[in-house]
């Protein structure tokens, strides 16, 4: 305790000398992404020792791809979770955005870029509605976005069936502007003789951007604050509702980006795509150190959480195991990470130095 002096004079000793005693180890331990980093190293070591393909450059390019598309979503979802909210509609919204893109470009003859813009408008509208309903009604976002999740699921299937008579729309490759859009959002680039998906660059770029926003901007401070205690934040003048609505819209933009990437890559979209993914995003964010209660977490952690998934997803295939083991792995990682994070946070909160 710092108040040894009590009523008497409190001595303001030089801060530097006391800072030195704070402990480097403890500083490292209270970083939210620590658990994810350790987990990623363990998972990498596990697969790399058993599968030469896994540790080859081609292998790395291979498992970074699912890590990237999941990671873009996980980073956005992490920001939202740090801000104290969930979005269960994020997965199915990737499908909605892709369906809008392919449907408008193939059945209504729109240029790919215009169709993408329309998809963005739809996604932003969904994010705005999620945000407005949550902030206005103060209902838990879990329930509100569960509602939008089910509604979008219905719309995706209903509209697709009504228009095509099937459960998919396809033929995007024939639309105007496809080649360029695909190169930017769905293509590959060759680095040192190995083709990498451009999604990986998007993912890295967005992780860096999200981290910068969180740590170095006023908006970042507000995100932590509204998630930590939104009434306290409001009381010191933080526009809590605007911050939360912004976060829902950010998640929606990420869903649009990933949905468009997938549509451009495969030239078709299944009407049921993205369903069930919303939990994987949340799990990646939690492995990355986000608290379910909000106010704590990191974008880099979520990105690393996505790497763990990418490695497990492909690693299990490389080892020739049944893909069903992926689900087991998913659950085990979630439990371990949550326990580790809880221990770390208790330690950070309780030790008064």
């Amino acid at each position: 305790m710092a108040w040894r002096g009590g009523f008497a004079v409190t001595v303001a000793a030089p801060a530097d000398e006391r800072l030195a005693r704070a402990g480097v180890l403890r500083r490292l331990l209270i970083r939210p992404e620590l658990g994810a980093v350790v987990g990623a190293l363990v998972v990498f070591a596990f697969f790399a020792t058993q599968s030469p393909v896994f540790r080859s450059v081609d292998g790395v390019a291979n498992w970074l791809d699912p890590a990237a598309t999941l990671g873009i979503m996980a980073v956005a979802v992490a920001l939202l979770m740090i801000g104290g909210e969930f979005d269960l509609s994020a997965g199915v919204l990737t499908g909605t955005s892709g369906l809008v893109l392919v449907t408008l470009a193939t059945r209504y003859g729109l240029n790919v870029w215009l169709a993408m813009a329309a998809g963005l408008v739809v996604a932003l509208a969904v994010g705005l509605v999620n945000g407005l309903v949550v902030t206005r009604t103060r209902l838990p976002s879990f329930i509100v976005t569960l509602g939008t999740f089910l509604m979008l699921q219905g719309v995706n299937l209903g509209v697709t069936k009504a228009l095509t008579g099937t459960v998919q729309v396809s033929g995007l490759a024939r639309a105007d502007g496809y080649e360029v859009a695909r190169a930017i959002f769905g293509g590959t680039i060759v680095i040192g003789g190995t083709p990498f998906r451009v999604a990986i660059l998007w993912w890295i770029g967005l992780t860096v951007l999200a981290t910068w926003v969180l740590m170095r901007t006023r908006a970042g401070n507000w995100i932590f604050a509204v998630g930590g205690n939104d009434q306290a934040a409001r009381a010191v003048g933080v526009p809590a509702a605007r911050v939360k609505i912004g976060l829902f819209m950010t998640t929606a933009v990420a869903a649009w980006l990933v949905g468009s990437m997938m549509a451009l890559r495969y030239t078709s979209v299944q009407a049921n795509i993205g369903i069930g993914q919303e939990f994987i995003y949340i799990i990646a964010a939690v492995i990355g150190g986000c608290l379910l209660t909000g106010g704590y977490g990191s974008a880099i952690g979520a990105a690393i959480g996505a790497v763990i998934f990418g490695m497990a997803d492909k690693g299990i295939v490389f080892l020739g195991w049944d893909a069903d083991w992926f689900k087991f792995f998913l659950g085990a990682m979630l439990l371990l990470a949550t326990l580790a994070n809880r221990l770390v946070r208790r330690y950070a909160e309780q030790v008064r130095h």
Binding site: M1, A2, W3, G5, G6, F7, V9, T10, V11, A12, A13, A15, R18, L19, A22, M215, R216, T217, R218, A219, G220, N221, W222, F224, A225, G228, N229, Q231, A232, A233, R234, A235, V236, G237, V238, P239, G295, Y296, A348, E349, Q350, V351, R352, H353
Partner: protein, 252 residues
């Protein structure tokens, strides 16, 4: 800035939380608001700080009738409030909390992190607040340290009126003493302080004026010269009731 209320009132549905309360806060003085649980203290300061809107009477700032729409507006006018349970965000570091809502900015909305750390450290030291590491989460501070940081923050951010809701009620004797010292220091810096408490022993040493509330109505506003600690205590407990209680206890 002079803050004044005239016959101010507020009801929640059928609950009359506050009726006809008049008070005055001047620069460089401490106005204490005393009252038992449910007396309407929090309701009063929530009106002063823009959380609730009053529905009768007048709220005057420098003599001008004012209606506040939000805590933000109150802050912009120089009225800062430290709410009892809402003082700080526990998982955020001291310096992030210190500037929350008023972050020093550089271009592109960048939060000037280096300046924030340095200023937080300097300001806390200038107020004589002994925090080792401004990077530690506020949740690791003691209750008194937390209140002290919140007070230093309001003073630094240029508050002219500082409102404190029961800053000492959850604290031990020593810690309460520390907070009382910061209240005095804020007054010395020329702030008008509104200090809410239900403990006359905390209020009397630092207060210049005392407003007594009971069941939503004012029992009067007294200057320090007009009232002694004993009277204050008796009034607060509802005089006759306390005597009754004493009587009952003695006869057992």
């Amino acid at each position: 800035m002079i803050l004044e209320t005239r016959e101010i009132g507020k009801s929640f549905g059928s609950v009359l939380a506050l009726r006809g309360v008049s008070m005055r806060v001047e620069p460089g003085s401490v106005t204490c608001v005393l009252g038992d649980n449910g007396a309407g203290k929090s309701t009063l300061i929530k009106i002063l700080s823009g959380v609730h809107r009053h529905d009768s009477g007048e709220y005057l700032l420098d003599g001008v009738p004012t209606v506040l729409d939000s805590p933000r507006q109150a802050l912009d006018l120089g009225i800062a409030t430290v709410f009892q349970d809402l003082a700080m965000i526990p998982l955020m570091s001291v310096w992030r909390n210190f500037f929350l809502g008023s972050e020093p900015r550089r271009s592109l909305g960048r939060f000037d992190v280096a300046a924030a750390r340095r200023i937080a450290r300097e300001e806390l030291r200038a107020m004589g607040i002994d925090i080792r590491d401004v990077d530690q989460p506020v949740g690791t501070l003691s209750g008194g340290e937390r209140q002290s940081v919140a007070i230093a923050r309001a003073v630094y951010l240029g508050a002219k009126i500082l409102i404190l809701d029961e800053p000492t009620s959850a604290l031990g004797v020593k810690q309460a003493g520390v907070v009382l010292r910061y209240i005095v220091r804020a007054r010395q810096r020329g702030l008008g302080v509104v200090f809410i408490t239900h403990n006359p022993h905390h209020a009397y040493p630092v207060g210049d004026r005392f407003l007594l509330l009971n069941r939503g109505v004012s029992l009067g506003e007294y200057a320090k010269e007009e009232i002694a600690l004993q009277e204050l205590t008796t009034l607060m407990a509802g005089g006759a009731e306390l005597e009754q209680l004493e009587h009952e206890l003695r006869s057992q």
